[in-house]
């Protein structure tokens, strides 16, 4: 059984990260933008795990563990903020959250 080269996983990670960036820049709903952030974090996790396998070290996996935990904390607080914004502005469109706009 031949093995899958690590570069394949890294290219996939780059593709997912790029798609996450596209979603982050072009979508208008706050929750969808948040989900694009999670997609980017996932792409980075994939790169970490791929490199951990390539160098045969477990440090990459430990870092992935911490990224997942921090993403959980961030999602909790971020969604609480989103709910507050939605209640205040009565809209989930990010272009309506423009009170600080110059």
């Amino acid at each position: 059984m031949s093995a899958v080269p690590i570069s394949y996983y890294l290219v996939l990670s780059a593709i997912l990260f790029g798609l996450g960036v596209i979603a982050f820049v072009f979508k208008r709903n706050i929750i969808t933008i948040f989900m694009a952030i999670e997609l980017m974090l996932n792409a980075v996790n994939l790169a970490f795990v791929a490199f951990a396998r390539a160098h045969n070290q477990l440090d990459g996996l430990v870092f992935v563990f911490f990224v997942i935990v921090v993403a959980a904390a961030e999602a909790a607080v971020g969604l609480a903020i989103v709910i507050t914004i939605a209640q205040n502005r009565q809209s989930l469109n990010i272009e309506r959250v423009n009170l600080l706009k110059f």
Partner: protein, 169 residues
Amino acid sequence: MSVPFILFFVFAGIAVAGAVLLIVAREPIHSALSLILVMVSLAVLYLLLGAEFIAAVQIIVYAGAIMVLFVFVIMLLNAGVEERTDWSKLAKYAGLPLAGFLLIELAYWLARPAAGMTAALHAARGMGAAPTRALSEMLFRDYLFPFEATSILILIAILGALVLAKGDE
């Protein structure tokens, strides 16, 4: 075409399809479902890379808790179809190609140095026999301080979410 290759391409394809669906979907709930699809297929890819514990943690925490939170918020806020506002011409004709270029460039520079490494399925040291046990030993010895720091971080996040949810009471 050996089995690891087939599995990789199938689940990589599903992951990319999920990401594209996230961008293309008109309702946030469909975006959330496609993100869950991406996470589950990434968990399968972690299994292919030999990281069993991380695959299980990904499903339990990411797909099973964080995304449930997202789905809850979408249900609570009754998020419907996104408003369609016109993008500026600059965004449409320069933005998308630039984003695509970023993607391709990232892929190129990530693929080059790693060209020689392969994910041999039965590798020797670090991720060998009992990766879960080795991982937990590393977590509680070398990385003990970050571990405790993240637990404090979670506590802060709980307090922050509570304060934000209570509002002006």
